[in-house]
Symmetry: C2
Subunit: 562 residues, 2 copies
């Protein structure tokens, strides 16, 4: 079955297919918030669209709504005062199920076409979404635009193209002819129908509401499932806008818009989510958040396929370098970027107690540590520039952790409170750095300290550093590992540690690429091979179990050979 | 990295790749036990090889062995008296882990090449394996040869080719170049390494020890994992021979043979299996068996990817037919084949209370039921012919069920004990058929009654029959659904019921294809969409999560455009 939206986006789909198999640089979306790419008025329109939604009920007409819910506050210091429709999960599930029954029958090309059209429309709304991401997550505008807009859209498209790649491998029909010696052959026609799982539940986080939710959401949609989107109570708006756009596209394409619905909740929605997640109708769950909640879902939501991204401990191993300066500059940027509130931000920096080799001779452990601290200090010295890098602190839990960690090691750099020039009530904090010892402080550095918190850890040797890195990734989880070395043997050993820990490795990053960043269509985000995530964004395994194949077969007359 | 065994079998692999995408008839193996295909002496050699293994210790040199274990009895009436090496799970895991570390580094082409070579050697041993399958499962020789030999090898090859198809999609390296406006682009080389999960545990069943175990075993091996094969205590020999061949190939290819090991056990090995299955080192489990054990593994072996095939209720809906005779003949064959001891054998036959339409007019419910009974009776009337179809009863549990079920419905056909002309002590039983009523007897027919037990069930209408079929498949599990109708609207409704129940549908089988049979490379065995199985043999989802991808990236000089 063909579909006009599939035809409309087929060229993009083909390019994306090529991209995931060659994994070079590719994106159909412009990552710069430029008028040339998005239109002269896009920036102003987007900001206006964002502002027009403050202080009033959010327009979204879903079944079973009564009253409103929502207590979002911008980390830049004001309440959004947006009221989202409060819906009964029962009503939402019933509506989703009804909508999915119709959607299911439309077939893969319709699902993929609709999904691609939604992503294209999201791209047009990138400025509006950027402001909504900024004022829920605390990201500075540029990051909110890129990570919340085009980069999130890239990850959506990536999930769709993986889904299409998996589905197009199943022929709609097959002619089967089995020889029977001297007797006429057995001849059958077989039909293969892609049957979606049913309803997916996507549970968002408060730091990357779109980037982390889109892969699951679009993997579900592109394989014919309905989706209930449950944002983090602190970051509803970006996903509410997303759901509204998705429903509009569905409606225009002649589908029941309840294929995609929003479940906005008040803070402390744990019991509600647990009761929803274990409902028999929920057959897919995509979760980003803390390990306790992710583990709970994996253990209890046994009726569903559960994909989780949870806590991890990201690490850097410094062995040697031609020059230390570009190393520490790169690391400092990674630590300061969005105040370390990224699942990919480094936390543990291992440096041998005896120092590291450089072209200028050996540099002592203390000098390396000091050098990192100075680079961070330099990067955050000017508040006006710093805030565009650090953004604001998303929640008080992060501030509490900064305070809590301060006594657990030797101070290297204190966290500074900065005043944001445009938002005086914003909570802005620069990174805190502590010196730890590998032999003494393992209890501290094997925990995730989410936020602007990092440790420079003295180890016995690079071998010891790599042993820690591999073991901690494997047992505590990790999304990133970074190594600095001029020695190919050390890099081989780092490869082994990365394979053992099931963690992506970045080697000698000293330029414009940072360990926190992952590029869709090229970098796999998470491996699914350690406790930080049970899936990878995106790969075949992320999509292949969101649908099943139901076949039929019947005898047909023998066909003439073609 | 290339590998000579990959090159040797590449043509077969290419044909298999084409087969899984077009799903027509294909197999590289001859399913007839003919001298032309297998050699003049193959039959006699295979039987001699089987017999030479009776009454003595099985030769298999594994680490950590001490003493022997094994209490197999042929369902044809004699004890095998084979003693398998008794091994400590701890020693086996340690050996497998060591072997896997080396195997992992050889890469996908070596894993696939080794796997293909093992399958080719298994094919050469088809007669020996056929006898071993016959005298552990009770299958008649022809089925033991086909299902235990070439058809099982087909399913092994199918799993390997799916694994290869998933792995070849990951490039080994990629060049990534991101434009930076007027600045020089960012240029990186990325390397993608396929990292196996670790150790797989394959838990076999007593009715199809090779057919049901090969897909998991070869999916594991082809993706670089080590495999511990744990046969059912009643059907060890076919898998022991398989493991021995696998180890020989591994050794010849320069690998540690402990990549594949055998864990033979005495009956009632539940505690041992549970303790092994929850070990942290076991990262993949493939299980075929009862629902209670499968559910236990899914719930408790949380450190592993768990693939299960469990109980189900297979169903036939009779709505109408041109002629009843070929319908009941086909059904009777399906009921008698291996005494219904197949996970695909039909159990519930729904017939409207008001009868069915045929070209010769309406035939009453009772007449349809009687007709099925007579067809079964006719098929099993001559013991010498019957035993080649029914084989023997695998275990006393099946005999107990025949007795237990007898009082639960209106007798239609009694189970007969037959004397096997060649094996006087064989337990041979023909099917028992009962009449049930859909409204009254649901408690009986929603259970699986594994063995030669079937029900002809009176329903209110074909609509009612299809409602039952869809609902029972969805809630109780099912691998097969068969429908007979001359009405395309009924067939459309059957398609809907099959989609709802997540079960493969066969339409109007009246010739030489039977609902119990599924053809590798064309028919998906199980859908993974109902409780009978959480995976399908084989599809992308069955293999994609048996390995993960770990990447590295580093800056490289910008390349000239090609």
């Amino acid at each position: 079955m063909n579909h006009s939206l599939f035809d409309k986006h087929e060229k993009t789909l083909d390019s994306a297919l090529n991209a995931i198999k060659t994994r070079g640089y590719w994106s159909p979306f412009d990552e710069m918030p430029s008028p040339r790419a998005y239109g002269e008025t896009a920036r102003a329109d987007g900001e206006a669209a964002f502002k027009s939604q403050l202080e009033r009920p959010f327009e979204l007409h879903q079944p079973g709504s009564s009253g409103t819910v929502g207590e979002e506050r911008s980390p830049f210091g004001f309440a959004l005062n947006i009221g989202y429709p409060k819906v009964e999960p029962d009503a939402l599930i019933a509506a989703a199920q009804k909508a999915q029954t119709q959607y299911r029958k439309a077939g893969p090309k319709a699902w993929v076409g609709v999904s691609l059209e939604i992503v294209a429309r999201l791209n047009q709304a990138s400025f509006e979404i950027a402001h909504s991401v900024m004022h829920t997550t605390g990201q500075a505008f540029m990051m909110a635009f890129q990570a919340g807009g085009p980069h999130a859209q890239d990850r959506a498209l990536e999930a769709i193209v993986y889904a299409w790649d998996a589905m197009r491998d199943i022929p709609e029909t097959a002619y089967w002819e089995k020889p029977q010696g001297k007797n006429p052959p057995l001849a059958m026609e077989k039909r293969f129908t892609i049957v979606p799982r049913g309803i997916g539940l996507v549970i968002g986080c408060c730091t990357f509401p779109t980037w982390n939710s889109y892969p699951g959401m679009f993997a579900d949609l592109a394989t014919g499932n309905a989706v209930i989107v449950k944002p983090h109570p602190a970051a509803i708006l970006p996903l509410a806008i997303t759901v509204r756009i998705a429903r509009q596209v569905l409606k225009e394409a002649g589908f029941d818009p309840n294929v995609v619905t929003l479940l906005a909740t008040a803070p402390n929605d744990g019991a509600l989510v647990q009761s929803l997640a274990t409902r028999d109708e929920i057959r897919l769950i995509d979760f980003t958040g803390c390990t306790a909640n992710g583990d709970w879902l994996e253990t209890h939501a046994r009726q569903a396929q559960v994909y989780t991204e949870k806590a991890g401990v990201n690490q850097i191993v410094i062995d040697s370098a031609d020059e230390l300066k570009p190393v520490v500059r790169n690391i400092a940027f990674s630590l300061a970027l969005y105040s370390g509130q990224m699942c990919t931000a480094p936390q543990n920096i291992y440096v041998p107690r005896d120092g590291i080799k450089t072209a200028a001779g050996t540099i002592s452990f203390d000098a390396v540590a000091q050098s990192i601290a100075e680079a961070v200090q330099k990067l955050t010295a000017d508040p006006a520039k710093a805030v565009e890098l650090t953004g604001a602190i998303q929640n008080n839990g992060v501030l509490d952790r900064i305070e809590q960690v301060a006594t657990l090691g030797t101070p290297l750099l204190d966290s500074q409170s900065l005043v944001h020039p445009a938002f005086p009530d914003a909570k802005v904090n620069t990174p805190i750095l502590l010196k730890l010892d590998a032999d003494r402080d393992e209890a501290t550095f094997t925990q995730e300290w989410f936020g602007p918190i990092a440790f420079v850890i003295a180890t016995g040797s690079t071998e010891h550093s790599l042993e820690l890195a591999g073991r901690i990734a494997r047992t505590r989880g990790a999304l990133t590992l970074s190594v600095y070395s001029t020695d190919e043997q050390v890099l081989d050993a780092a490869d082994e540690a990365a394979a053992f820990g099931g963690v992506a490795l970045s080697i000698n990053l000293t330029g414009g690429v940072f360990v926190n960043q992952s590029a869709a269509f090229s970098d796999f985000h998470a491996t699914g091979a350690n406790p930080a995530a049970n899936a990878s964004l995106s790969d075949a395994a992320f999509v292949a179990n969101r649908f099943r194949v139901v076949q039929s077969r019947r005898h047909v007359p023998q066909r003439e050979p073609a």
